[in-house]
Symmetry: C2
Subunit: 310 residues, 2 copies
């Protein structure tokens, strides 16, 4: 299961583990449940594929954002999941389940805008009636790439930890809107979060050993990488977006910035600059004690958003 | 959009057409919105992909069938969509959106049973909270096959029309359960409908020109093929399952039998027998007047199940 939508409680992780156990391990060359996306062989092809659902009232408060924003977010979350493996989503399928008279045109305004921005057209899907609006999106991207897709589990002791940009904008934007303050940049970051496929490809090509997108929250998502890689970390100076708090940056989800690890010899800043990308930010180093996860000398809180399902 | 779930009203077809228009035509070698599944190129690969959602209370009455049956149906509908192109689903992604304390283990008992039956393991997906239970499934299958995938649009005048088995079981089963009568075979056909990938592959390899699965109802689904192919038909003796009515067979959905067209020279019965498959049933012939669609000399009713979304 991918983690691009907020909301992994302990029960949910346990449910995902039970589901994964039903289907056994992936054959060589594939990656199944337990990362941002799956990598599968289909015939002679190797395909990256991710699926996430967003629900009105859960992932988007329609009193604060629009149906179009919900549509954008549903596709963007999946583009971000493939980006977190260093892959580019190129085709999408969308199932919309909702009450009669759901404004599909407005919903699709947002989906179409995101599809155009990231060159990922909708090629199929389904429309069905349901008591509440749920938009589920699947994206596919080529995974026959070299170097191969980056998983969560590859970080090694001594690897540097990088982030693609400052954090906290989405959480601060939501907080501001709930308080009746609309700060345009922060509100936009919440309404139309921007996935980072170009940054993900760059990190993969430059030698990233592990990667994830910030969807549940920095602390929770970094925690997935450290858990999977069985390393700890010592970080300093988490970059926080202007107008956001450190708590927004650590605990807020849906920033869709990427966090990755890479050997110390890799010059990420130069590599990103050559590609015309924003300079990534060095956060620190992977250490040998998986239980020791420090930011500015203090343990990193691990609170992501939590739902109850599972 | 695929049509594997019941419920295409006129408004829904119009909505699907508006959605398709947003994304333009598929490039050569691909098939996007408007068939049972999509065929896409991803890198050097050619992949068949379908996505459908099922909602509790809409596609399955949980007072009559179980969560496990809903899980089976969600995956089976998608396996059937690829079968309708003559393709075999080999990998699935599942997003489950539902209320807290949804019994995921029971739901996954049905998904797992279907995945095992059709060798289509779940490799990823998502769990999210939502006010109502929606299960959305995407399946992938190799589409780099020869002869190529079979679409709805290829039937020609003079082609014979075939069906893979007798119809009406799912509708009769549901009707019986609602009336408090449980006829085991019919009830099973409703609770655990059986997709027909082997029959789909056989029909494709033997020369099918157009194909669809019976999901909305025979009349509606055959209508999609005739519309897309711009032909009419003259049919006789629609096979009806014991215990079902002709109305069940014509208008009931979710039988998942396949209906296809093929040139008269093709000996389908021999080809199926060689593969150890049930003998398909010859229904009639494609004719030149698209407005003339006859069964036993009378116009075929076009009533599928109808929802309101869109």
């Amino acid at each position: 299961m991918s983690d691009a939508t907020p909301g992994r409680g302990a029960g949910e992780f346990a449910a995902i583990e039970r589901i994964a156990a039903r289907f056994g391990g992936a054959p060589p060359g594939e990656r199944w449940i337990g990362d941002d996306a799956a990598v599968v062989r289909v015939g002679d092809a190797v395909v990256g594929v991710a699926a996430d659902a967003v629900a009105a009232g859960v992932h988007a408060d329609l009193a604060l954002t629009s149906l179009a924003d919900l549509g954008w977010k549903a596709l963007a979350a999946n583009v971000s999941d493939l980006a977190a493996m260093g892959l580019v989503a190129s085709r999408a399928l969308v199932t919309v389940s909702g009450p009669p008279r759901t404004d599909l045109d407005e919903l699709y305004d947002g989906i179409t805008a995101c599809a155009a921005e990231f060159a990922c057209p909708v090629v199929g899907g389904d429309l069905t009636e349901a008591p509440a609006l749920v938009v589920s999106v699947t994206v596919l991207g080529n995974a026959a790439v070299s170097p191969p897709p980056v998983f969560r589990s590859g970080a090694r002791i001594g690897d540097r930890v990088w982030v693609s940009g400052a954090l906290g904008a989405a959480a601060a934007g939501l907080r501001g809107m709930r308080a009746g303050r609309v700060e345009p940049l922060l509100a936009a970051a919440h309404a139309r979060p921007v996935p980072r496929p170009a940054e993900g490809v760059a990190a993969r090509e430059l030698g990233a050993t592990a990667m994830i997108d910030v969807s549940d929250g920095f602390a929770a998502d970094l925690g997935h990488v450290l858990d999977a890689s069985r390393v700890g970390c010592e970080l300093e100076g988490l970059p926080v977006v202007a107008g956001a708090t450190l708590e927004d940056a650590i605990g807020g989800g849906e920033d869709y910035e990427l966090v990755w690890c890479a050997p110390p010899a890799v010059n990420m800043a130069d590599g990103f600059a050559r590609r015309g990308l924003r300079s990534p930010i060095l956060l620190g180093v992977c250490t040998g004690d998986p239980a020791c996860r420090l930011l500015d000398g203090r343990p990193i809180g691990a609170e992501g958003w939590r739902h109850q399902l599972g």
